[in-house]
């Protein structure tokens, strides 16, 4: 993706996005614009809907109110959620092979290189069940190096990683945005990178009135 100084391409945007769970509104009126090169840190307390937002942006959660738009015609999104999406009985290499094989292909050389970059040199032929939690996350993240995706949607990507791993990952996030990609992530940890846009989900939360005497609760 080339960098045009005057017009930065918009990769993803939402228009008045809202989400309900059990008739309780998690967030509403969310209009977000994600441009190339941006890194967004979605913040909010537990239960605020951070994961649901990421899933709506990925297309996993149904969007009943509002819209999610992808202005670029062909956009590639990688979503890595709480559950890593790895099959325990397959090796790290095999897992990457099928994950990438869903919409593309890869050679073993490329996969080994990605695993090495993720810090798993020598573990390529171990089944995922034999790896530690942090190593499993590294396998999932290795996919980021294999697929040339525009937008990375990462839910708590630092979980289980050791100190070095967290540093490495922040490095990758930085490189990705410099190359013109975009990142949306949730994390309870602070991201120490130069340009971080903060999205505080509690701003969009619905004010719920529980007592009948309090005047206007907003209509759904």
């Amino acid at each position: 993706m080339s960098f045009i100084p005057s017009a930065i391409p918009e990769l993803m945007c939402t228009s008045d996005l809202a989400c309900e769970r059990d008739f309780r509104v998690l967030y509403s009126g969310l209009s977000l614009s994600v441009k190339a090169g941006e890194l967004w840190h979605v913040k909010g307390c537990n239960g605020a809907g951070k994961t649901t937002l990421l899933r709506q942006l990925a297309g996993l959660h149904p969007v009943d109110i509002g819209k999610v738009l992808y202005p670029q015609t062909s956009i590639k999104i990688i979503y890595i959620g709480h559950k890593l999406g790895l099959k325990e009985q397959l090796t790290a290499d095999e897992n990457l092979s099928w994950l990438v094989g869903l919409d593309g292909s890869s050679t073993q050389l490329q996969r080994y290189a990605a695993l090495e970059r993720a810090g798993l040199k020598g573990y390529e032929e171990n089944t995922v069940a034999q790896l530690s939690a942090g190593q499993k996350r590294r396998v999932a993240l290795a996919r980021l190096h294999l697929c040339k995706a525009d937008v990375w949607l990462l839910d708590e990507p630092f979980t289980s990683l050791d100190h070095q791993g967290i540093e490495d990952e922040q490095d990758w996030l930085n490189q990705h945005t410099l190359a013109g990609g975009a990142v949306l992530m949730t994390s309870h940890q602070e991201v120490s990178l130069p340009q971080v846009n903060i999205l505080d989900l509690s701003q969009y939360a619905e004010l719920s009135s529980s007592s009948p005497s309090s005047g206007g609760g907003s209509s759904t």
């Binding site: 529980s210 907003s218 759904t220």
Partner: protein, 254 residues
């Protein structure tokens, strides 16, 4: 408002508003209650007490006045549930899912009544409480379908997902019902000679037929009444934070 591939008139979308449904449904409720009470009482009393006895079966056929409406309703309600579910899925109406959910219990009840009265009817006619007659067996399978929808509805915690899942199941079930009925009828003719069906023939004299019509209509009114009541209750339960409902409470004191 909501987008879909089919354009529907404005009143259709208006029905999907919980507030409107609560109000309009509330005004309709007493009428349906009255109609159900009048039609059912008239039909059942006439049928059970005053209609002429059937020359073949004597008085035991009178159970038909309860059995036939129950059987008809059991199928209609399932279809209605599927239609409501489809409406909810296509036009994303929460009220439609509530209507579908209201249908489950009443439909299952009609099915059980149909089965029980079928058994009661069967004893004097065939000498056995249960026979694997085509219609009874299909009704039994229908009861299983209802049980499945009920179980699925209760098993899924999140209400909106439950509504969509039960809608899909209801639609799949409805598509399958004709196939199931055909296959069971076919299976039945294979294994039994001529089976005496439990439906009375259409060529009945008027004073036998009319009470039946009354009970069928009355049952439909009862069904609509129950759906209105249950849907409105669900609206109360789920819209408790909204302004229109709180104003309503302030006015009515409910």
């Amino acid at each position: 408002m909501t987008q879909s591939i089919w354009r529907m008139p404005r009143w259709f979308h208006q029905m999907g508003s919980p507030k409107w449904f609560y109000g309009f449904g509330g005004s309709l409720q007493p009428w349906f209650a009255l109609a159900a009470f009048v039609l059912l009482t008239w039909g059942i009393v006439w049928g059970l007490a005053f209609a002429p006895a059937d020359y073949q079966q004597g008085n035991s056929f009178r159970i038909m006045y309860v059995h036939v409406p129950a059987a008809i309703l059991s199928q209609s309600v399932f279809l209605g549930m599927a239609v409501a579910g489809a409406v909810g899925l296509i036009w994303k109406m929460k009220v439609a899912f509530m209507v579908a959910r209201s249908c489950i219990a009443i439909g299952a009840t009609f099915t059980v009544i149909a089965l029980l009265t079928g058994a009661i009817w069967g004893k004097p006619t065939w000498g056995a409480y249960w026979v694997w007659d085509a219609r009874l067996t299909s009704t039994l399978v229908l009861l299983f379908l209802y049980a499945g929808v009920m179980a699925l509805n209760q098993a899924i915690a999140e209400r909106q997902i439950a509504g969509k899942a039960t809608a899909i199941l209801a639609i799949v079930g409805t598509i399958n019902i004709p196939i199931i009925k055909y296959s069971v009828e076919w299976w039945n003719t294979l294994h039994q000679g001529s089976s005496f069906t439990l439906t009375a023939k259409p060529s009945m004299p008027a004073d036998m037929y009319l009470p039946l019509l009354l009970t069928v209509l009355g049952s439909y009114c009862l069904f609509v009444l129950v759906v209105l009541m249950r849907t409105r209750t669900q609206i109360l339960q789920t819209q408790s934070g909204t302004s229109w409902l709180m104003q309503h409470r302030d006015i009515t004191g409910v």
